[in-house]
């Protein structure tokens, strides 16, 4: 409990660091909201026109005033207004987040459901042709970029079979679950493929480590069945690296899968941040990055707590 409190207490500090970093970074990039909107035509503006547009975009004040205003707003629950959407930043983020969360969960389910059994199978058939087969597929999975796989799936389905899940308008899960699933299953497979490959490799090596341990040999010599040795004795200990990997990967996915969202035209968090950066929608970029950082910290905390559940020897926060 103490540990949990201490970890939670560090959250504001980390978020403050992230807020400074994102605030400065986006402003260090040349170009601003005005050039983003007008492009080269921005050169036609008179100084007075430029000033009035800067005031409209809220970039007319010195940077520390802008930062102070922004942070002050957040403390009151106001993340600012997105100039692209003309709506509060938090509303826009929360509207996009469910899709990203759903996609992350689906890909993780696919990754774990495929990757773990494959890894365990390979470990228990170590150095046999089937192990080699699994390792080759995993290697291919890890090294295939998601845009190649995504485009390949889209191309094969549309050119080969003349079908494709509806693109463009996204149906939220609670409105039309079937349509929602049809839109997310292919992106989830695309993301889950590489994720599953990593899970396969890590669970195979963790399992191999554990299977060589003394306690497993003892269990075997006591006459435990092969199934029981794997599932009851070896697996729980082999899970720790898998949990670590899945946690980190899941945290990344919560930040949005930019490329996959682009290819499948999904209105998720990743695409929103990318568009916001390109359009220099400062408030939206800043708000979204803070939100993503917060999620990442929560996931990290949950991973740490999961260690305790998996291995009673680990006592968090104790030397």
């Amino acid at each position: 409990m103490n540990y949990l409190m201490r970890r939670l207490a560090t959250f504001p500090l980390v978020l403050l660091g992230v807020s400074i970093l994102v605030f400065v970074a986006i402003r260090l990039v040349p170009g601003d909201s005005i050039t983003a909107m007008l492009g080269t035509e921005a050169g036609l503006l008179t100084p007075a026109q430029r000033e009035s547009l800067a005031a409209y975009f809220g970039i007319d004040q010195p940077w520390f005033v802008q930062y102070w205003r922004w942070i002050g707003g957040i403390l009151h629950g106001n993340f600012g207004i997105s100039v692209t959407y003309g709506r509060p930043v938090l509303d826009v983020i929360l509207e996009r987040f469910p899709l990203t969360l759903e996609l992350a969960v689906l890909s993780m389910i696919i990754a774990l459901a495929v990757g773990m059994p494959a890894g365990i199978y390979a470990a228990t058939h170590s150095e046999k042709p089937s192990d080699l087969g699994v390792r080759i597929v995993a290697m291919v999975g890890q090294s295939t970029p998601s845009f190649v796989l995504g485009l390949l799936i889209i191309y094969t389905l549309s050119a080969g079979f003349g079908v494709l899940p509806a693109m463009g308008e996204f149906a939220p899960l609670w409105q039309d679950p079937l349509r929602n699933l049809s839109q997310l299953i292919l992106p989830a497979i695309t993301l889950g493929f590489a994720f599953a490959a990593s899970v396969t490799r890590i669970s195979r090596s963790a399992m191999l480590d554990v299977l060589g341990d003394d306690y497993v040999r003892t269990a075997r010599s006591k006459g435990a069945s092969a199934r029981s040795v794997i599932w009851r004795h070896a697996l729980p200990n082999a899970l720790i690296p898998v949990v670590t990997l899945s946690g980190i990967e899941f945290g990344y996915l919560l930040g949005g899968a930019v490329i996959v969202e682009q290819i499948y035209a999904l209105p998720g968090l990743g695409r929103m941040v990318l568009d916001a950066i390109l359009q220099r929608d400062y408030a939206l970029v800043q708000g979204a990055v803070l939100f993503i950082a917060f999620n990442f910290m929560i996931v990290n905390l949950l991973v740490d707590l999961a260690y305790v559940a998996l291995d009673p020897r680990i006592r968090l926060g104790e030397q």
Binding site: G31, A48, I154, M167, G168, L178, R271, D275
Partner: protein, 505 residues
Amino acid sequence: MTRHLTRTLLSGIAVAAMLGVAAVSAQSATLHMAWSQDATGLDPHKQTAFSSLRLLELIYEPLVRVDASLRIIPAIAKSWEFSKDGKELTFKLDPKAKFQDGTAVTSADVKASFERILDEKTGAAARANFLSIAGIDTPDAATVVFHLSQPDVPILTAMSDVNAAIVPAAEIKAGSIGTKAVGSGPFKLDKWDPNAKEVLSANKDWAGGATGVDGIEISVLPDEAAILAAMRTKQIDFALLNDPLVATLVPKEASLQLNRVPVLAYHVLQLNPSRKPMTELKVRQAISCAIDRQEVLDTASLGEGKVTGPLTIPALATDPSQLFCYKRDVDKAKKLMAEAGFADGFSATVIGATGEPPTAAAEAQVIQSQLAEIGVKLDIKMMELNVYVDAWLKGDFDMAIALNGGRADPYTMYNRYWTKAGNLQKVANYIDDTLDSQMQQGRAETDPEKRKAIFTAFEKHLAEMSPWIWLYTSYSYTAQQKNIAGFVPTPTGTLFSLSKVTIQQ
């Protein structure tokens, strides 16, 4: 378990497939459209992004329009007339013209719209084109008189742009331009979810008559290969394409049709004549002679386009073969370099924007290899669009690969770069008395033949002085299902004719 999972996944794909098919049969008289880049805002006076203009042209109307041959035709104004001295321009408005909130379009709205454009506080993109307006009179509700400080022929073409759209005076007063879209055009904007979709419905009160479809749904599909895939499965009826690589795949699909038309925008290698050694005319001319424009077009853009001189307006353009060094001549280029004292060549950096246009990097690479033959070592620096725009506006480059927008009138198109007072003179970095005076003559000349002669001389001189190396104009592409009828592609890229498009069953 793995086998079970495979079965589950396959059935998931099957469900997806069925739903995809279901989505097709649901379409009625709504046109499903897609593009890869979305509009960036709704204020017609402030927007310059290509997609924004294309969207706003369907909602708002200017006083006049240009047709596919770039002739001025009526829009909100039924007729117009220049006074004899060219300093008074009178418009008669269409009495049937109505805004989408049901109110009539009156001369007061026209006056308020132009006053808004001219007000520096607005930050209107096209303000520079209307600086000759000295006053606006509204003798009655259907008549507007613009008093000009000097004869200004191109102002009429500038008024055909959606950046000069007429908006309701009441909305200006309420400060709601940009948050609410109330125009007098063929479609009403029902919903805009930025970077995701737009929903438009037909404006039953449109003075131009009934539209061919009940509405248009525009989806933003950022990947153009995915747009093509969605067209194959008939989810999308009509799409805007930028990438020639994707566009050339369209005719391979039996059910799809590709529309292409050379546009006014031009691909150009901008030299910076204020930086050594581009300060030397002979060096610039050597670069012009060393570049094989057709090869740049063939390699970077699969030959999809047309080699062009500075003028891309079909009625005014000179045959490029008549312009200075449009036939590659490496020997001449080497000779010019030697005469300028650069027989051993020099090094320079060329900047380009990633993906804007999609051919930028390829163009830079071809030019790099061509210029290497005369000893010019080019270092290519690709940048994110905004970073590039920033450097471009400051004139902070040796050379720049650019895709610059064209206009239906040469004065409006080039006044910004090649007159001494041009707003983008700092970008062009080149002052030339001849060009300046030719521009001023062209602005005031009302006789079409004389005007053409002025601009032909302007084009010839510009190509010879080679501050920039004009390369080619590409095509604007739209792809459509073959059952879509009535779309007319135009050099300005406008999608206005979607107002009369019909879907054949």
